[in-house]
């Protein structure tokens, strides 16, 4: 302790509850040191108050999950961000899988194994269109070289080609003759 005022060490000791008679006597006589010591003590006390209040408030929203009979602590499940992420991913997967199969046929493997041209089942129910039939239909439409809107022009071109072929054929024939 300094002759005039308490040192920082003395104030820390005071905050820790290690209060010697000399320090206590000095505090009664020195308002500055008393204010500093009180400042320390108040700050720490307020910190404790806030900490306890926060903890209690937080605990109120978390009911105790006491395992019946005492389970193994390593096996208990505590929600964590990683677990929540895994659960969300699993839910997403189970939601998207049916949508995927709806768009790609309910049983694509079965449909592919059906022979081409099979259109009805033994029970007489209308059979679903097989993949092969669908593919054939697509092939037919794709294989059309010219779209419908340009068909008149095609006709014109093919006529022209035919007529030119006829004329060239005729000339060749004349030359041969």
């Amino acid at each position: 302790m300094n002759a005039n005022h308490l040192s920082n060490w003395d104030l820390e000791e005071y905050a820790l509850g290690q209060r010697t008679p000399e320090v206590l006597q000095h505090l009664t006589q020195c308002p500055d040191c008393q204010a500093a010591a009180t400042d320390w003590q108040d700050s720490l006390a307020m910190f404790r108050t806030a900490a306890v209040a926060w903890s209690e408030q937080s605990l109120q929203h978390r009911p105790a999950r006491i395992p019946a009979g005492g389970n193994d602590p390593s096996k208990h499940i505590v929600p964590s961000p990683l677990r929540w992420a895994l659960v969300a991913a699993a839910l997403l997967l189970f939601t998207l899988l049916p949508i995927y199969f709806m768009h790609h046929g309910a049983s694509p493997q079965v449909a592919r194994t059906l022979p081409a041209g099979t259109s009805s089942t033994a029970a007489g129910k209308p059979a679903p269109i097989s993949d092969e039939a669908l593919l054939n239909q697509v092939d037919e439409e794709v294989s059309e070289a010219v779209p419908d809107s340009m068909e008149p022009l095609t006709h014109l071109v093919t006529t022209q080609v035919n007529t030119s072929a006829d004329t060239t054929g005729g000339s060749h024939h004349a030359q041969r003759n």
Partner: protein, 228 residues
């Protein structure tokens, strides 16, 4: 060492230390020659019943874990682990310290494991349950203060909160056990497996760090330090 407990009887180290029959003199009361009857304040009987253990210590362990980890989910996880481990390992409890001290020791180890794990480092930034200084100070209940005084106190609490976050793990543990849990130096030493002198040294360093960051230096004290 053997420890068997029921609601009627507690046997510790092969000796009956609590029995309703022995209390009324119906049968001879046996006591451990080494330990004798475990005093009630140690909370030994609460170890026999999980509900009682949770009721008695959950709040305290949760608070310690919460302030150490600053994450409500992790604090709850640590609290749960701590109490369950204590319950399952109650046979190894020798009774040389209080149950609270023993639980604090278990909780400290679990907190240290959490802090060391990379998982915490990763989730620390993203965790929604992490609390900042402002939210912490909002929990302060200081009725009867003027708005100015309340604001001042709030700023001080925020300062302490931020300073505690910057302490080393050991300093933080010692600080929280002393100033929040209000344990004695010897209890902290037992809980953290340290000497009392080491505890005191950590406390002084923690307070020194607090002072250097947020606790204001009065000019007179600076002068006193220089002349020291």
């Amino acid at each position: 060492m053997q420890y068997v407990s029921t609601t009627e009887q507690i046997i510790y180290a092969g000796q009956i230390i609590h029995s309703p029959e022995s209390a009324d003199g119906g049968s001879p009361r046996r006591q451990s020659p080494e330990h004798g009857q475990v005093p009630a304040h140690l909370g030994f009987a609460e170890l026999a019943d999980m509900d009682a253990l949770f009721a008695a210590y959950r709040s305290r362990i949760y608070r310690y874990a919460l302030l150490s980890l600053r994450d409500e989910d992790l604090a709850e996880s640590v609290t749960h682990d701590c109490l369950l481990r204590a319950f399952h390992a109650r046979a190894s409890f020798r009774g040389d310290c209080s149950v609270a001290t023993w639980l604090t020791r278990i909780a400290t180890n679990l907190i240290r494991d959490q802090v060391r794990s990379r998982k915490l480092q990763f989730w620390k930034a993203a965790s929604r349950s992490a609390i900042d200084a402002g939210e912490f100070a909002d929990h302060l209940r200081a009725p009867g203060l003027t708005p100015e005084a309340s604001l001042l106190v709030r700023e001080k609490v925020k300062g302490v909160w931020e300073s505690v976050a910057k302490l080393s793990d050991k300093q933080r543990s010692v600080f929280l056990l002393r100033f929040v849990e209000e344990l004695e130096m010897s209890e902290i030493a037992a809980a953290l497996n340290m000497n009392v002198g080491t505890v005191k040294s950590h406390l002084h360093r923690a307070l020194s760090n607090l002072r250097s960051t947020h606790m204001p230096h009065a000019p007179i004290r600076k002068e006193a330090e220089k002349t020291k």
